[in-house]
Amino acid sequence: MSRKKDSRISFDIERCKGCGLCVLFCPQGNLRLSQKLNTQGNPYVELIDAAACNACGICFRMCPDVAIEITGESSDSTVEKTSQQDRPSGKAGSDD
């Protein structure tokens, strides 16, 4: 199974074409392309810091291949998410 799960976000490694749009637009700069290649020969998306991701969904929106999916959260993690949103955002230049 080629899915990797980091907190609420999961990546379909084999579906990812390594286009990098998600990396470009993540407001936290929290995504990167892997060093390894998938079986298609593409580098694939990875989370840098899983705990920092607040599942804003921008990566999903920009992904042409639905290689990223984001599932629902429990009430505990809602509290967690709020405190994450208090952190300063990492990457400048996104239009959100």
């Binding site: 921008i58 929106r61 042409p64 984001i70 629902g72 996104s94």
Partner: protein
Amino acid sequence: MEFHRPETLYEAHTHYCPGCGHGITHRLVAEVIDELGVREKTIATAPVGCAVLFYDYMKFDIIECAHGRCPAVATGIKRMLPDRVVFTYQGDGDLAAIGTAETIHTANRGENITVIFINNAIYGMTGGQMAPTTMLGQYSTTTPKGRGKNAEGAPLRVCELLSSLDGVCYLERVAVSTPKDVIQAKRAIKKAFENQLADKGFSLVEVLSMCPTDWKLSPEEAVKFVNEEMKKVFPLGVFKDK
């Protein structure tokens, strides 16, 4: 918030290049169809172009048309089955070169269909020749010195062109080159389908899209090309809204 593959989008891996705008737009169309609950009464026409395999990705009835003829085929379907949701999905060559007459006249007749127009200013499938929307000075394999005003003429601005037609209900130009643009694109696409459901008439959404491969740019550079070059020549916005 949850973000999942829409029901209407098959799980097939697409053949599109990394960073291609088709993938994003397919997903938006599928999301809209899911949200409107019309998958089982949707019939679409597939173009000739990179999206010729549209029917491998979308879970509803689809007919593959001759190059440029989608609006005519859609007219035939919608006139015979007026309560179905009928739309075309076309590239710039399909809609604004070989299919120009069908595009204009279908719009002029005010056929109650939705048109999703992907403008990437190049001919993708055939390897990067000039499109009607290729910009002045832009390289293509058939304009190796760049498109020239005196030879090839200026690029066609489809939304502006169609806005003079009475039969047109709604025209909006959007892009899929930033998250904000993607959100706006989805809104426009949804409106274009809602118009059809409300029998309001011809609605077209022009989507400025990345084509890294034929622009010979990386996906990141292609995004920049849309944002910094294409948006200047093809301004975003609503051109008609009856």
